[in-house]
């Protein structure tokens, strides 16, 4: 029988904390890449509406949107799981300022060169077969027998195998000390599905007027709805033991690359084989996008917003709009940075304060501020005349790093930007979004202070 390995030394625990921060960074790095491609899609395109080809394209666009958002949601879960493990062994998860500052980028501590000798490079790009190939590279399953790799890793699975082996050697007594400030389970922080992760079997159904006399209207919706994520495929968990940590790592690995390393299809992410892995989902989309002569490949641009150019920057938009776009781009980047700040602060709070802060603050921020701002900024019609060149067709987000002058001033700087954009481009930051930004909690939380929001009646 092999001798049991000794517990990690304090220096080794510190190194493990750094690896878990890397895991968090990797998961976070994927979020803007996936979100950018998601927002490039018009999920209800109106091209060639009356023809079968138009319906085929619209159905694919809506499905691609649902699939990409479903993966992005699980990447956020993975980030939270890695952060909870890090917190469990005494680390302090850092989220603010950890998203890639610019694009394209490699993933943190990823091998520099791919199998073909070209550098790994992941960027912001519209939906395309090429971009889906990048997604497949991110989610690339490890080969059977692949070595564990703590740095310069080839696949995420190999990196997570290494981290898991290190976790097994942590003194178990460490784990019970930091449960309170982890993101709590059964608090609703993570819902596998929402109206954005699902998609219809047939896009035409969505556009069709619904019968006012239908006997069972919801049953008609249910027949159409395709659910991407399963409710039992893994959720947020508080890490109290080594076993909890291993289970969390397993969720992250399996949801990404599939349950069985030996399955060449890498399809299911669990024993029941009832949720597809990220790699498999992207591969299905990639096949549909790359089939020669297909309607989807030929006409995909009709389902995309044309302003979603590759790796846009604030400077690029500024040049095109003679500076008019600066406040809009700053606001969107600041909202994104503020979401990261709120997440980071949540790991210093407990109980109702954490719940109010993370669930309501994050949810409002993610779905009702960032989502709606990006949704609006994509349309050229949202801007006043003369905003850009005659060819101007809207703005795409840049997801560049935005730094507030201090945590104490972050909220006031964010609301000042909202005020500016609301005044100058009210169709991008409308009254609802403006109010929701003003309702976000202050990330500068003096110890013991209650978490406050704006008045609900002001909504």
């Amino acid at each position: 029988m092999a001798a049991k390995k000794p517990f990690l030394t304090p220096a080794e625990v510190t190194a493990l904390q750094a690896h878990l921060q890397t895991a968090l960074d990797v998961e976070l790095s994927t979020v803007p890449i996936y979100l950018y491609t998601y927002y490039s899609i018009n999920r209800s395109p109106s091209w060639d509406d009356d023809a079968k080809a138009g319906d085929t394209l619209a159905t694919f666009a809506n499905k691609a949107g649902g699939v990409i958002m479903s993966v992005a949601v699980e990447e956020m879960l993975h980030m939270s799981l890695a952060a909870n493990i890090l917190r469990a062994i005494g680390g302090k998860p850092k989220v603010y300022g950890r998203s890639p500052a610019t694009f394209p980028t490699n993933l943190p501590h990823h091998k520099k060169l791919g199998p073909d000798g070209t550098p790994y490079s992941f960027g912001l790009s519209k939906l395309s077969a090429d971009q889906l190939e990048k997604f497949l590279e991110i989610e690339q399953p490890e080969q059977p027998g692949g070595p564990q790799e703590g740095n310069n890793w080839q696949t995420l699975g190999q990196f997570y195998d290494y981290v898991t082996e290190q976790i097994k050697r942590v003194n178990p007594d460490v784990f019970a000390r930091h449960a309170g400030t982890q993101l709590q389970e059964a608090s609703g922080y993570y819902a596998p599905n929402n109206v954005d992760t699902i998609y219809p079997k047939n896009a035409f159904w969505v556009k069709k007027s619904k019968s006012p006399t239908a006997a069972h209207p919801s049953a008609e919706t249910a027949k159409q709805a395709q659910f991407t994520n399963n409710q039992d495929s893994g959720n947020i968990r508080v890490i109290r033991t080594i076993d909890d940590a291993i289970k969390a790592m397993t969720i992250i690995k399996h949801q990404g690359e599939g349950y069985a390393v030996t399955d060449p299809r890498h399809e299911g992410d669990d024993k029941q084989d009832n949720e597809d892995s990220h790699w498999y989902r992207f591969n299905v989309l990639h096949q549909a996008c790359s089939r020669k002569g297909s309607v989807i490949r030929t006409h995909l641009d009709h389902a995309l917003f044309s302003c979603f150019v590759a790796n846009p920057t604030r400077q690029m938009w500024s040049t095109e709009t003679r500076g008019a776009s600066d406040p809009v781009i700053d606001l969107v980047n600041a909202v994104y940075a503020y979401l990261l700040l709120m997440t980071e602060v949540s790991y210093t709070l407990q109980g109702p304060a954490q719940h109010t802060f993370f669930y309501i603050g994050m949810h409002k921020g993610m779905i009702f501020v960032l989502d709606k701002l990006i949704g609006n900024m994509r349309y050229g019609s949202s801007y006043p005349a003369g905003f850009g060149s005659t060819a101007f067709q809207g703005l795409a987000p840049t997801f560049e790093s935005y730094r507030f002058s201090s945590r104490q001033n972050a909220r006031s700087e964010l609301t000042a930007l909202a005020d500016q954009v609301h005044a100058s481009v009210p169709q991008v930051c409308d009254a609802n979004i403006w109010q929701r930004i003003h309702d976000l909690p202050d990330v500068h939380v003096p110890t013991g202070s209650p978490i406050t929001f704006g008045s609900p009646t002001s909504l």
């Binding site: 109206v195 954005d196 998609y199 896009a203 969505v206 919801s218 919706t221 409002k364």
Partner: protein, 172 residues
Amino acid sequence: MSTAKTTPPLELHACLGLNACKGHDRFGTNTCAGMGACATSQAHSCHTLNNCRGQGGCGLYGTAEEQNRPGNNPCAWQGSCAVPINAERISTDGSNQGRSVWMRARAVFEERMQQAQRTFGEPPQQLTTGVVTDTTVYNTAEGPPAAWLDATMPGGYTACGASGLSGGGSCI
């Protein structure tokens, strides 16, 4: 139908058939608990926008727990989705996933009334818009269709999400 308001609504609730008292629907004309024609709470399009307890809809965003108690959220901003609850809407998460949100809301309401030992009536089975040119009789047995809400609500009706599966349009 008459839209004359005879009683100011005291109870703010999320939809047709979810009122606990006589005269407490949007039009103030219902004769008994459970028989109201529409919500009295402030209409809103999405999750966390409910002003207070019991004023949230459900189904499009939110947790499994929230989605299992539409129209009965415990506090402001803990409602799970748009109000009123259109008949086409299904829950996207939780034990009611893939089934009618309004039917679940009605079941939760009936349970609450039974616990309070209150009598309640059947919800309206059919409604018209009251618009002279619209002769459609809308089936409301499983909640108000989005088309009826759109025609009767000031500013129309919108639910949220990008997939179009809310049945009430899209807010992005």
